[in-house]
Symmetry: C2
Subunit: 324 residues, 2 copies
Protein backbone atom coordinates (compact mmCIF):
# COMPACT_ATOMS: atom_id res chain seq x y z
CA UNK A 1 0.00 0.00 0.00
CA UNK A 2 1.32 3.46 -0.89
CA UNK A 3 2.82 5.14 2.11
CA UNK A 4 3.90 8.78 2.10
CA UNK A 5 7.61 9.11 2.75
CA UNK A 6 10.47 11.50 2.09
CA UNK A 7 14.07 10.78 1.28
CA UNK A 8 16.86 12.45 3.23
CA UNK A 9 20.40 12.35 1.91
CA UNK A 10 23.41 13.34 4.01
CA UNK A 11 26.47 13.88 1.84
CA UNK A 12 29.60 13.56 3.97
CA UNK A 13 33.26 13.51 3.07
CA UNK A 14 33.54 9.75 3.51
CA UNK A 15 30.04 8.32 3.42
CA UNK A 16 26.72 9.19 1.92
CA UNK A 17 23.73 8.32 4.06
CA UNK A 18 20.35 7.95 2.47
CA UNK A 19 17.12 7.29 4.33
CA UNK A 20 13.40 6.94 3.75
CA UNK A 21 11.66 8.97 6.45
CA UNK A 22 7.98 8.98 7.33
CA UNK A 23 5.92 12.16 7.61
CA UNK A 24 6.28 11.76 11.38
CA UNK A 25 10.07 11.71 11.16
CA UNK A 26 10.59 8.01 11.65
CA UNK A 27 13.50 6.45 9.74
CA UNK A 28 11.87 3.62 7.75
CA UNK A 29 14.99 2.49 5.92
CA UNK A 30 18.58 3.75 5.84
CA UNK A 31 21.52 2.95 3.58
CA UNK A 32 25.12 3.99 3.72
CA UNK A 33 27.62 3.97 0.88
CA UNK A 34 31.01 5.48 0.04
CA UNK A 35 30.64 9.13 -0.97
CA UNK A 36 33.28 9.00 -3.72
CA UNK A 37 33.85 12.62 -2.83
CA UNK A 38 37.11 12.84 -4.78
CA UNK A 39 35.55 11.90 -8.09
CA UNK A 40 34.53 14.37 -10.81
CA UNK A 41 31.58 16.66 -10.09
CA UNK A 42 29.10 14.70 -12.19
CA UNK A 43 30.28 11.34 -10.88
CA UNK A 44 29.65 12.46 -7.29
CA UNK A 45 26.21 13.62 -8.37
CA UNK A 46 25.50 10.36 -10.21
CA UNK A 47 26.40 8.48 -7.04
CA UNK A 48 23.72 10.42 -5.12
CA UNK A 49 21.18 9.69 -7.84
CA UNK A 50 22.08 5.99 -7.78
CA UNK A 51 21.70 5.78 -4.00
CA UNK A 52 18.33 7.53 -4.11
CA UNK A 53 17.15 5.29 -6.95
CA UNK A 54 18.24 2.22 -5.01
CA UNK A 55 16.34 3.33 -1.93
CA UNK A 56 13.26 4.19 -3.93
CA UNK A 57 13.37 0.79 -5.60
CA UNK A 58 13.50 -0.92 -2.23
CA UNK A 59 10.60 1.23 -1.07
CA UNK A 60 8.73 0.37 -4.27
CA UNK A 61 9.16 -3.34 -3.56
CA UNK A 62 7.42 -2.81 -0.27
CA UNK A 63 4.63 -1.06 -2.11
CA UNK A 64 5.35 2.42 -0.72
CA UNK A 65 5.50 4.14 -4.10
CA UNK A 66 7.76 7.10 -4.88
CA UNK A 67 9.23 9.53 -2.38
CA UNK A 68 7.24 12.77 -2.22
CA UNK A 69 10.36 14.89 -2.03
CA UNK A 70 14.10 14.46 -1.64
CA UNK A 71 16.20 16.57 0.71
CA UNK A 72 19.95 16.64 0.25
CA UNK A 73 22.22 17.91 3.02
CA UNK A 74 25.37 19.37 1.49
CA UNK A 75 28.58 20.39 3.23
CA UNK A 76 29.84 23.88 2.66
CA UNK A 77 28.28 27.15 1.59
CA UNK A 78 25.51 26.95 -0.95
CA UNK A 79 23.06 29.36 -2.51
CA UNK A 80 19.58 28.11 -1.69
CA UNK A 81 17.95 30.48 -4.15
CA UNK A 82 19.78 29.07 -7.15
CA UNK A 83 20.62 25.60 -5.82
CA UNK A 84 24.30 26.14 -6.52
CA UNK A 85 26.97 24.70 -4.21
CA UNK A 86 29.53 27.50 -3.90
CA UNK A 87 32.30 25.37 -2.40
CA UNK A 88 32.18 22.04 -0.58
CA UNK A 89 35.14 21.31 1.68
CA UNK A 90 34.99 17.55 1.06
CA UNK A 91 33.94 17.55 -2.59
CA UNK A 92 36.69 19.40 -4.37
CA UNK A 93 34.95 19.26 -7.75
CA UNK A 94 31.84 21.05 -6.50
CA UNK A 95 32.75 24.66 -6.96
CA UNK A 96 29.91 26.89 -8.15
CA UNK A 97 28.23 23.63 -9.07
CA UNK A 98 24.49 23.68 -9.96
CA UNK A 99 23.71 20.62 -7.86
CA UNK A 100 19.98 21.12 -7.59
CA UNK A 101 19.51 21.38 -11.35
CA UNK A 102 21.70 18.35 -12.02
CA UNK A 103 19.85 16.26 -9.47
CA UNK A 104 16.45 17.35 -10.74
CA UNK A 105 17.39 16.38 -14.27
CA UNK A 106 17.50 12.79 -13.03
CA UNK A 107 15.14 12.80 -10.06
CA UNK A 108 12.45 15.25 -11.15
CA UNK A 109 11.39 18.56 -9.59
CA UNK A 110 11.27 17.40 -6.01
CA UNK A 111 14.83 18.03 -4.82
CA UNK A 112 15.51 20.38 -1.92
CA UNK A 113 19.04 21.33 -0.84
CA UNK A 114 19.98 22.21 2.69
CA UNK A 115 23.24 23.09 4.39
CA UNK A 116 24.44 20.02 6.31
CA UNK A 117 24.63 21.78 9.68
CA UNK A 118 21.11 23.15 9.16
CA UNK A 119 19.90 19.66 8.26
CA UNK A 120 21.45 18.33 11.45
CA UNK A 121 19.75 21.12 13.41
CA UNK A 122 16.40 20.38 11.77
CA UNK A 123 16.78 16.70 12.64
CA UNK A 124 17.35 17.56 16.30
CA UNK A 125 14.43 19.98 16.15
CA UNK A 126 12.06 17.47 14.60
CA UNK A 127 12.97 14.32 16.48
CA UNK A 128 15.87 14.98 18.84
CA UNK A 129 16.87 17.12 21.78
CA UNK A 130 15.02 20.23 20.54
CA UNK A 131 11.70 18.52 19.84
CA UNK A 132 8.75 20.76 20.58
CA UNK A 133 10.88 23.88 21.12
CA UNK A 134 10.47 27.16 19.22
CA UNK A 135 13.73 29.06 19.76
CA UNK A 136 16.88 26.98 19.67
CA UNK A 137 20.56 27.50 18.92
CA UNK A 138 22.26 24.32 17.72
CA UNK A 139 26.03 24.05 17.51
CA UNK A 140 27.85 21.07 16.06
CA UNK A 141 31.45 20.67 17.18
CA UNK A 142 33.11 18.34 14.70
CA UNK A 143 36.09 18.62 12.36
CA UNK A 144 34.81 22.18 12.01
CA UNK A 145 32.07 24.01 13.89
CA UNK A 146 28.68 24.47 12.25
CA UNK A 147 25.32 25.47 13.46
CA UNK A 148 21.66 25.96 12.89
CA UNK A 149 19.23 28.51 14.30
CA UNK A 150 15.58 27.85 14.97
CA UNK A 151 13.65 31.09 15.47
CA UNK A 152 9.97 30.81 16.30
CA UNK A 153 9.89 27.28 14.94
CA UNK A 154 11.65 27.94 11.64
CA UNK A 155 15.22 27.46 10.53
CA UNK A 156 17.02 30.76 9.78
CA UNK A 157 18.32 30.79 6.22
CA UNK A 158 19.05 34.45 5.70
CA UNK A 159 19.09 35.93 2.24
CA UNK A 160 20.34 32.89 0.34
CA UNK A 161 20.93 30.11 2.83
CA UNK A 162 24.24 31.29 4.24
CA UNK A 163 22.98 31.80 7.80
CA UNK A 164 24.01 29.69 10.77
CA UNK A 165 27.78 29.74 10.35
CA UNK A 166 28.22 29.85 14.11
CA UNK A 167 31.71 28.42 13.86
CA UNK A 168 32.82 31.66 12.30
CA UNK A 169 31.70 34.05 14.96
CA UNK A 170 34.76 35.86 16.23
CA UNK A 171 35.35 34.92 19.86
CA UNK A 172 38.83 36.43 20.12
CA UNK A 173 39.82 38.94 17.44
CA UNK A 174 43.53 38.35 18.00
CA UNK A 175 43.18 34.58 18.25
CA UNK A 176 44.75 31.89 16.05
CA UNK A 177 44.23 31.82 12.33
CA UNK A 178 41.13 29.93 11.23
CA UNK A 179 40.82 27.79 8.08
CA UNK A 180 38.34 30.38 6.78
CA UNK A 181 41.09 33.00 6.66
CA UNK A 182 39.94 34.96 9.71
CA UNK A 183 41.37 34.93 13.23
CA UNK A 184 39.90 33.73 16.50
CA UNK A 185 36.73 32.14 15.14
CA UNK A 186 34.89 29.75 17.47
CA UNK A 187 36.00 26.98 15.09
CA UNK A 188 39.65 27.80 15.71
CA UNK A 189 39.15 26.66 19.33
CA UNK A 190 36.21 24.30 19.70
CA UNK A 191 36.59 21.99 16.67
CA UNK A 192 38.83 18.96 16.20
CA UNK A 193 41.17 21.04 14.05
CA UNK A 194 41.12 23.87 16.60
CA UNK A 195 41.98 21.48 19.42
CA UNK A 196 44.82 20.11 17.34
CA UNK A 197 46.20 23.62 16.85
CA UNK A 198 45.86 24.33 20.57
CA UNK A 199 47.81 21.18 21.45
CA UNK A 200 50.50 21.88 18.85
CA UNK A 201 50.92 25.45 20.07
CA UNK A 202 51.10 24.31 23.69
CA UNK A 203 53.78 21.73 22.90
CA UNK A 204 55.80 24.07 20.73
CA UNK A 205 59.04 23.35 22.59
CA UNK A 206 58.75 19.63 22.04
CA UNK A 207 59.35 17.73 18.82
CA UNK A 208 57.15 18.77 15.92
CA UNK A 209 55.29 15.50 16.07
CA UNK A 210 52.53 15.12 18.60
CA UNK A 211 52.90 12.43 21.29
CA UNK A 212 51.25 9.16 20.35
CA UNK A 213 48.68 9.50 23.11
CA UNK A 214 46.98 12.24 21.05
CA UNK A 215 47.00 10.29 17.78
CA UNK A 216 44.75 7.61 16.35
CA UNK A 217 46.11 4.40 14.84
CA UNK A 218 46.69 6.10 11.52
CA UNK A 219 48.85 8.75 13.18
CA UNK A 220 46.29 11.54 12.86
CA UNK A 221 45.17 13.79 15.67
CA UNK A 222 42.24 12.23 17.49
CA UNK A 223 39.73 13.98 19.73
CA UNK A 224 38.85 10.61 21.21
CA UNK A 225 42.48 10.05 22.21
CA UNK A 226 42.77 13.56 23.56
CA UNK A 227 39.66 12.90 25.63
CA UNK A 228 41.14 9.66 26.94
CA UNK A 229 44.31 11.56 27.90
CA UNK A 230 42.27 14.21 29.67
CA UNK A 231 40.51 11.50 31.64
CA UNK A 232 43.90 10.10 32.62
CA UNK A 233 44.84 13.54 33.98
CA UNK A 234 47.04 14.74 31.12
CA UNK A 235 47.48 18.51 31.71
CA UNK A 236 47.86 19.47 28.04
CA UNK A 237 44.66 17.66 27.08
CA UNK A 238 42.81 19.20 30.00
CA UNK A 239 44.09 22.66 29.12
CA UNK A 240 43.05 22.24 25.47
CA UNK A 241 39.48 21.25 26.37
CA UNK A 242 39.31 23.95 29.00
CA UNK A 243 40.40 26.59 26.47
CA UNK A 244 37.91 25.28 23.92
CA UNK A 245 35.23 25.38 26.61
CA UNK A 246 36.06 28.93 27.54
CA UNK A 247 35.62 30.21 23.99
CA UNK A 248 32.58 28.05 23.43
CA UNK A 249 31.15 29.82 26.47
CA UNK A 250 32.02 33.23 25.01
CA UNK A 251 30.14 32.30 21.83
CA UNK A 252 27.15 30.84 23.65
CA UNK A 253 26.88 33.96 25.85
CA UNK A 254 26.75 36.16 22.75
CA UNK A 255 24.17 33.85 21.18
CA UNK A 256 22.00 34.01 24.31
CA UNK A 257 22.06 37.81 24.20
CA UNK A 258 21.33 37.79 20.47
CA UNK A 259 18.55 35.14 20.41
CA UNK A 260 17.14 34.63 23.92
CA UNK A 261 16.75 30.92 23.09
CA UNK A 262 15.08 28.38 25.31
CA UNK A 263 17.64 25.74 24.44
CA UNK A 264 21.21 25.41 23.21
CA UNK A 265 22.00 22.00 21.73
CA UNK A 266 25.61 20.84 21.41
CA UNK A 267 26.47 18.01 19.06
CA UNK A 268 29.38 16.61 17.06
CA UNK A 269 32.36 14.55 18.16
CA UNK A 270 33.98 17.25 20.30
CA UNK A 271 30.81 17.57 22.38
CA UNK A 272 31.64 14.08 23.69
CA UNK A 273 34.29 15.82 25.80
CA UNK A 274 31.79 18.26 27.31
CA UNK A 275 32.71 17.04 30.80
CA UNK A 276 36.07 18.81 30.44
CA UNK A 277 34.63 21.93 28.81
CA UNK A 278 31.50 22.55 30.84
CA UNK A 279 32.93 24.41 33.85
CA UNK A 280 34.90 27.07 31.91
CA UNK A 281 32.06 27.27 29.39
CA UNK A 282 29.46 27.96 32.05
CA UNK A 283 31.71 30.50 33.78
CA UNK A 284 31.78 32.55 30.57
CA UNK A 285 28.06 32.12 29.97
CA UNK A 286 27.29 33.39 33.46
CA UNK A 287 29.75 36.28 33.24
CA UNK A 288 28.69 37.47 29.78
CA UNK A 289 24.99 36.86 29.23
CA UNK A 290 22.07 38.68 30.81
CA UNK A 291 21.00 36.73 33.84
CA UNK A 292 17.31 36.70 32.89
CA UNK A 293 18.17 35.36 29.46
CA UNK A 294 20.58 32.75 30.86
CA UNK A 295 17.97 31.61 33.37
CA UNK A 296 15.52 30.97 30.52
CA UNK A 297 17.89 28.67 28.66
CA UNK A 298 19.21 25.14 29.09
CA UNK A 299 22.34 23.80 27.41
CA UNK A 300 22.06 20.13 26.45
CA UNK A 301 23.71 17.45 24.33
CA UNK A 302 22.25 16.43 20.97
CA UNK A 303 19.90 13.47 21.00
CA UNK A 304 20.02 11.76 17.62
CA UNK A 305 23.57 10.92 16.63
CA UNK A 306 24.41 10.31 13.01
CA UNK A 307 20.88 10.02 11.71
CA UNK A 308 20.07 13.65 12.51
CA UNK A 309 21.31 14.73 9.07
CA UNK A 310 19.07 12.46 7.00
CA UNK A 311 16.07 13.15 9.24
CA UNK A 312 16.61 16.89 8.93
CA UNK A 313 17.14 16.70 5.18
CA UNK A 314 13.82 14.85 4.91
CA UNK A 315 12.19 17.53 7.08
CA UNK A 316 13.51 20.26 4.80
CA UNK A 317 12.12 18.37 1.80
CA UNK A 318 8.73 17.85 3.40
CA UNK A 319 8.31 21.48 4.42
CA UNK A 320 9.57 22.96 1.21
CA UNK A 321 7.08 20.72 -0.59
CA UNK A 322 4.26 21.91 1.62
CA UNK A 323 4.98 25.58 1.19
CA UNK A 324 5.35 25.39 -2.59
CA UNK B 1 -14.96 60.28 10.04
CA UNK B 2 -13.47 57.33 11.92
CA UNK B 3 -10.00 56.58 10.71
CA UNK B 4 -8.05 53.51 11.77
CA UNK B 5 -4.92 54.50 13.62
CA UNK B 6 -2.48 53.11 16.17
CA UNK B 7 -0.65 54.86 18.95
CA UNK B 8 3.09 54.45 19.34
CA UNK B 9 4.79 55.54 22.56
CA UNK B 10 8.56 55.82 22.90
CA UNK B 11 9.61 56.05 26.53
CA UNK B 12 13.05 57.63 26.76
CA UNK B 13 15.12 58.74 29.70
CA UNK B 14 14.34 62.42 29.09
CA UNK B 15 11.32 62.62 26.85
CA UNK B 16 8.30 60.56 26.08
CA UNK B 17 7.18 60.64 22.47
CA UNK B 18 3.67 59.71 21.57
CA UNK B 19 2.27 59.51 18.03
CA UNK B 20 -0.85 58.54 16.16
CA UNK B 21 0.23 56.39 13.22
CA UNK B 22 -1.87 55.29 10.27
CA UNK B 23 -2.13 51.66 9.16
CA UNK B 24 0.32 52.60 6.42
CA UNK B 25 2.89 53.86 8.91
CA UNK B 26 2.35 57.57 8.40
CA UNK B 27 2.76 59.74 11.51
CA UNK B 28 -0.55 61.62 11.73
CA UNK B 29 0.18 63.47 14.94
CA UNK B 30 3.10 63.47 17.37
CA UNK B 31 3.55 64.91 20.85
CA UNK B 32 6.57 65.11 23.07
CA UNK B 33 6.59 65.63 26.83
CA UNK B 34 9.01 65.22 29.74
CA UNK B 35 9.31 61.56 30.74
CA UNK B 36 9.50 62.20 34.51
CA UNK B 37 11.63 59.09 34.57
CA UNK B 38 12.82 59.73 38.13
CA UNK B 39 9.33 59.70 39.63
CA UNK B 40 7.76 56.73 41.40
CA UNK B 41 6.82 53.72 39.28
CA UNK B 42 3.12 54.50 39.18
CA UNK B 43 3.69 58.19 38.47
CA UNK B 44 5.80 57.35 35.41
CA UNK B 45 3.04 55.01 34.29
CA UNK B 46 0.34 57.62 34.90
CA UNK B 47 2.32 60.03 32.76
CA UNK B 48 2.22 57.59 29.84
CA UNK B 49 -1.52 57.11 30.31
CA UNK B 50 -2.05 60.90 30.38
CA UNK B 51 -0.05 61.41 27.17
CA UNK B 52 -1.96 58.66 25.40
CA UNK B 53 -5.30 60.06 26.61
CA UNK B 54 -4.32 63.54 25.42
CA UNK B 55 -3.42 62.21 21.98
CA UNK B 56 -6.57 60.16 21.73
CA UNK B 57 -8.64 63.20 22.72
CA UNK B 58 -7.03 65.26 19.97
CA UNK B 59 -7.68 62.42 17.51
CA UNK B 60 -11.27 62.25 18.74
CA UNK B 61 -11.74 65.96 18.04
CA UNK B 62 -10.79 65.26 14.46
CA UNK B 63 -13.34 62.48 14.37
CA UNK B 64 -10.84 59.64 14.16
CA UNK B 65 -12.25 57.68 17.09
CA UNK B 66 -10.17 55.54 19.42
CA UNK B 67 -6.79 54.02 18.66
CA UNK B 68 -7.05 50.36 17.69
CA UNK B 69 -4.00 49.40 19.71
CA UNK B 70 -1.23 51.08 21.66
CA UNK B 71 2.41 50.07 21.38
CA UNK B 72 4.83 51.18 24.08
CA UNK B 73 8.59 51.06 23.48
CA UNK B 74 10.38 50.51 26.78
CA UNK B 75 14.08 50.79 27.52
CA UNK B 76 15.78 47.85 29.15
CA UNK B 77 15.06 44.16 29.41
CA UNK B 78 11.45 43.15 29.65
CA UNK B 79 9.51 39.92 29.62
CA UNK B 80 7.10 40.06 26.70
CA UNK B 81 5.18 37.03 27.86
CA UNK B 82 4.20 38.58 31.17
CA UNK B 83 4.48 42.27 30.26
CA UNK B 84 6.88 42.86 33.13
CA UNK B 85 9.74 45.35 32.83
CA UNK B 86 12.69 43.60 34.48
CA UNK B 87 14.90 46.67 34.76
CA UNK B 88 14.86 49.97 32.89
CA UNK B 89 18.15 51.88 32.89
CA UNK B 90 16.43 55.28 32.82
CA UNK B 91 13.44 54.50 35.00
CA UNK B 92 14.92 53.45 38.32
CA UNK B 93 11.54 52.64 39.86
CA UNK B 94 10.66 50.08 37.18
CA UNK B 95 12.19 46.93 38.53
CA UNK B 96 10.14 43.79 37.96
CA UNK B 97 7.32 46.20 37.26
CA UNK B 98 4.11 44.83 35.65
CA UNK B 99 3.85 47.70 33.17
CA UNK B 100 1.49 46.05 30.72
CA UNK B 101 -1.07 45.22 33.40
CA UNK B 102 -0.88 48.69 34.90
CA UNK B 103 -1.34 50.36 31.53
CA UNK B 104 -4.21 48.07 30.56
CA UNK B 105 -6.01 48.86 33.77
CA UNK B 106 -6.37 52.40 32.45
CA UNK B 107 -6.22 51.98 28.69
CA UNK B 108 -8.01 48.69 28.16
CA UNK B 109 -6.73 45.42 26.68
CA UNK B 110 -4.99 46.89 23.68
CA UNK B 111 -1.51 47.60 25.02
CA UNK B 112 1.55 45.96 23.45
CA UNK B 113 5.03 46.34 24.91
CA UNK B 114 8.18 46.24 22.84
CA UNK B 115 11.85 46.67 23.65
CA UNK B 116 12.90 50.16 22.53
CA UNK B 117 15.67 48.97 20.23
CA UNK B 118 13.29 46.49 18.63
CA UNK B 119 10.73 49.26 18.17
CA UNK B 120 13.37 51.39 16.48
CA UNK B 121 14.28 48.45 14.24
CA UNK B 122 10.62 47.86 13.36
CA UNK B 123 10.23 51.54 12.48
CA UNK B 124 13.19 51.35 10.10
CA UNK B 125 11.80 48.11 8.69
CA UNK B 126 8.32 49.52 8.13
CA UNK B 127 9.10 52.99 6.86
CA UNK B 128 12.85 53.59 6.89
CA UNK B 129 16.10 52.25 5.47
CA UNK B 130 15.03 48.59 5.66
CA UNK B 131 11.67 49.03 3.96
CA UNK B 132 10.73 46.06 1.80
CA UNK B 133 13.59 43.89 3.09
CA UNK B 134 13.20 40.47 4.69
CA UNK B 135 16.48 39.80 6.50
CA UNK B 136 18.00 42.74 8.30
CA UNK B 137 20.33 43.37 11.22
CA UNK B 138 19.77 46.78 12.83
CA UNK B 139 22.25 48.23 15.30
CA UNK B 140 21.68 51.45 17.20
CA UNK B 141 24.82 53.12 18.51
CA UNK B 142 23.69 55.55 21.20
CA UNK B 143 24.48 55.98 24.88
CA UNK B 144 24.51 52.20 24.78
CA UNK B 145 24.30 49.82 21.85
CA UNK B 146 21.03 48.09 21.07
CA UNK B 147 19.69 46.20 18.15
CA UNK B 148 16.89 44.47 16.39
CA UNK B 149 16.85 41.46 14.10
CA UNK B 150 14.45 40.96 11.24
CA UNK B 151 14.42 37.36 10.03
CA UNK B 152 12.21 36.51 7.07
CA UNK B 153 10.17 39.65 7.67
CA UNK B 154 9.60 39.22 11.39
CA UNK B 155 11.32 40.68 14.42
CA UNK B 156 13.19 38.10 16.49
CA UNK B 157 11.93 38.07 20.08
CA UNK B 158 13.32 34.80 21.36
CA UNK B 159 11.70 33.02 24.23
CA UNK B 160 10.43 36.06 26.14
CA UNK B 161 11.49 39.15 24.24
CA UNK B 162 15.10 39.29 25.34
CA UNK B 163 16.58 38.82 21.85
CA UNK B 164 18.45 41.50 19.93
CA UNK B 165 20.90 42.60 22.62
CA UNK B 166 23.59 43.09 19.98
CA UNK B 167 25.46 45.55 22.18
CA UNK B 168 26.34 42.68 24.46
CA UNK B 169 27.96 40.39 21.97
CA UNK B 170 31.54 39.83 23.10
CA UNK B 171 33.90 41.34 20.52
CA UNK B 172 37.03 41.08 22.66
CA UNK B 173 36.89 38.72 25.65
CA UNK B 174 39.69 40.56 27.44
CA UNK B 175 38.37 44.01 26.59
CA UNK B 176 37.27 46.78 28.95
CA UNK B 177 34.57 46.24 31.52
CA UNK B 178 31.05 46.89 30.24
CA UNK B 179 28.18 48.41 32.22
CA UNK B 180 26.44 45.04 32.00
CA UNK B 181 29.19 43.45 34.10
CA UNK B 182 30.89 41.60 31.26
CA UNK B 183 34.09 42.51 29.41
CA UNK B 184 34.68 43.53 25.82
CA UNK B 185 31.05 43.83 24.73
CA UNK B 186 30.40 45.75 21.51
CA UNK B 187 28.82 48.44 23.71
CA UNK B 188 32.09 48.92 25.58
CA UNK B 189 33.60 50.25 22.32
CA UNK B 190 30.96 51.57 19.94
CA UNK B 191 28.61 53.49 22.25
CA UNK B 192 28.93 57.01 23.64
CA UNK B 193 29.94 55.56 27.01
CA UNK B 194 32.40 53.20 25.33
CA UNK B 195 33.98 56.06 23.39
CA UNK B 196 34.29 58.02 26.60
CA UNK B 197 36.09 55.11 28.26
CA UNK B 198 38.39 54.77 25.26
CA UNK B 199 39.30 58.46 25.40
CA UNK B 200 39.84 58.39 29.15
CA UNK B 201 42.07 55.31 28.90
CA UNK B 202 44.07 56.87 26.09
CA UNK B 203 44.65 60.07 28.06
CA UNK B 204 45.51 58.27 31.28
CA UNK B 205 48.75 60.19 31.75
CA UNK B 206 47.03 63.55 31.53
CA UNK B 207 44.85 65.15 34.19
CA UNK B 208 41.85 63.10 35.21
CA UNK B 209 39.50 65.57 33.57
CA UNK B 210 38.94 65.35 29.84
CA UNK B 211 39.99 68.29 27.67
CA UNK B 212 37.18 70.72 26.96
CA UNK B 213 37.20 69.88 23.28
CA UNK B 214 35.58 66.52 24.14
CA UNK B 215 32.91 67.98 26.44
CA UNK B 216 29.56 69.59 25.84
CA UNK B 217 28.53 72.87 27.45
CA UNK B 218 27.43 71.08 30.60
CA UNK B 219 30.87 69.51 30.97
CA UNK B 220 29.75 66.03 29.97
CA UNK B 221 31.44 63.86 27.37
CA UNK B 222 29.97 64.58 23.94
CA UNK B 223 30.15 62.37 20.87
CA UNK B 224 29.33 65.43 18.79
CA UNK B 225 32.35 67.27 20.18
CA UNK B 226 34.54 64.22 19.74
CA UNK B 227 33.40 64.06 16.13
CA UNK B 228 34.19 67.73 15.64
CA UNK B 229 37.67 67.11 17.09
CA UNK B 230 38.18 64.17 14.76
CA UNK B 231 37.25 66.37 11.81
CA UNK B 232 39.82 68.90 12.98
CA UNK B 233 42.45 66.13 12.91
CA UNK B 234 42.66 65.40 16.63
CA UNK B 235 44.55 62.07 16.92
CA UNK B 236 42.86 60.87 20.11
CA UNK B 237 39.40 61.41 18.66
CA UNK B 238 40.39 59.70 15.42
CA UNK B 239 41.89 56.77 17.31
CA UNK B 240 38.75 56.39 19.44
CA UNK B 241 36.43 56.27 16.43
CA UNK B 242 38.81 53.98 14.60
CA UNK B 243 38.88 51.57 17.55
CA UNK B 244 35.10 51.68 17.84
CA UNK B 245 34.90 51.05 14.09
CA UNK B 246 37.22 48.09 14.32
CA UNK B 247 35.12 46.33 16.95
CA UNK B 248 31.89 47.31 15.24
CA UNK B 249 33.33 45.53 12.19
CA UNK B 250 34.16 42.45 14.27
CA UNK B 251 30.54 42.32 15.47
CA UNK B 252 29.06 42.93 12.02
CA UNK B 253 31.24 40.19 10.52
CA UNK B 254 29.95 37.70 13.11
CA UNK B 255 26.38 38.86 12.45
CA UNK B 256 26.82 38.36 8.70
CA UNK B 257 28.03 34.79 9.28
CA UNK B 258 25.18 34.15 11.71
CA UNK B 259 22.31 35.72 9.71
CA UNK B 260 23.31 36.15 6.05
CA UNK B 261 21.32 39.40 6.03
CA UNK B 262 20.67 41.52 2.96
CA UNK B 263 21.10 44.72 4.92
CA UNK B 264 22.78 46.04 8.04
CA UNK B 265 21.31 49.34 9.27
CA UNK B 266 23.32 51.55 11.62
CA UNK B 267 21.55 54.23 13.65
CA UNK B 268 21.93 56.26 16.82
CA UNK B 269 24.10 59.27 17.60
CA UNK B 270 27.45 57.52 17.26
CA UNK B 271 26.57 56.44 13.71
CA UNK B 272 26.85 60.12 12.78
CA UNK B 273 30.61 59.59 13.00
CA UNK B 274 30.56 56.66 10.59
CA UNK B 275 32.98 58.52 8.31
CA UNK B 276 35.73 57.91 10.87
CA UNK B 277 34.70 54.34 11.62
CA UNK B 278 33.93 52.97 8.17
CA UNK B 279 37.43 52.03 6.94
CA UNK B 280 38.49 49.96 9.99
CA UNK B 281 34.96 48.56 10.20
CA UNK B 282 34.98 47.37 6.61
CA UNK B 283 38.48 45.93 6.97
CA UNK B 284 37.22 43.64 9.74
CA UNK B 285 34.04 42.78 7.85
CA UNK B 286 36.08 41.74 4.81
CA UNK B 287 38.63 39.79 6.86
CA UNK B 288 36.12 37.93 9.02
CA UNK B 289 32.92 37.24 7.08
CA UNK B 290 32.41 34.76 4.26
CA UNK B 291 32.89 36.60 1.00
CA UNK B 292 29.65 35.33 -0.56
CA UNK B 293 27.71 36.46 2.47
CA UNK B 294 29.44 39.85 2.58
CA UNK B 295 28.76 40.36 -1.13
CA UNK B 296 25.04 39.85 -0.51
CA UNK B 297 24.83 42.57 2.14
CA UNK B 298 24.90 46.35 2.20
CA UNK B 299 25.67 48.42 5.30
CA UNK B 300 23.68 51.66 5.44
CA UNK B 301 22.67 54.46 7.80
CA UNK B 302 19.22 54.56 9.36
CA UNK B 303 16.58 56.57 7.54
CA UNK B 304 14.03 57.82 10.03
CA UNK B 305 15.68 59.64 12.90
CA UNK B 306 13.84 60.07 16.16
CA UNK B 307 10.41 59.05 14.95
CA UNK B 308 11.52 55.45 14.25
CA UNK B 309 10.64 54.44 17.81
CA UNK B 310 7.01 55.59 17.78
CA UNK B 311 6.46 54.24 14.28
CA UNK B 312 7.89 50.87 15.27
CA UNK B 313 5.89 50.78 18.50
CA UNK B 314 2.74 51.41 16.46
CA UNK B 315 3.79 48.63 14.07
CA UNK B 316 4.22 46.21 16.97
CA UNK B 317 0.75 47.18 18.23
CA UNK B 318 -0.85 46.76 14.82
CA UNK B 319 0.67 43.34 14.20
CA UNK B 320 0.06 41.97 17.64
CA UNK B 321 -3.56 43.04 17.23
CA UNK B 322 -3.83 41.26 13.92
CA UNK B 323 -2.38 38.02 15.16
CA UNK B 324 -4.52 37.89 18.30
Amino acid sequence: MARPYYIGVDMGGTNIRCAAVSAQGRVLMMKRAPANAHAAADAVTANIVARVAELERAAGERGWGRARAIGVAVPGPLDLRTGVVLAAPHVAAWRSFPLKRRLERRLGPRVVLENDANAWALGEFWRGAARGRRDVVLITLGTGVGGGLIVNGHIVHGRRGGAGELGHMTVNPDGPRCDCGSHGCLESYASASGLRTLVVSRLRKRPAKLPRKYLDDGGDFSVRRLYRSARAGDPVARWAFSTAGRYLGVAIASLLNIFNPELVVLGGGVSGALAFMRAPMMAEVRARSFSAVAAQCRIVRAGLGREAGVVGAAYAAMHSRRSS
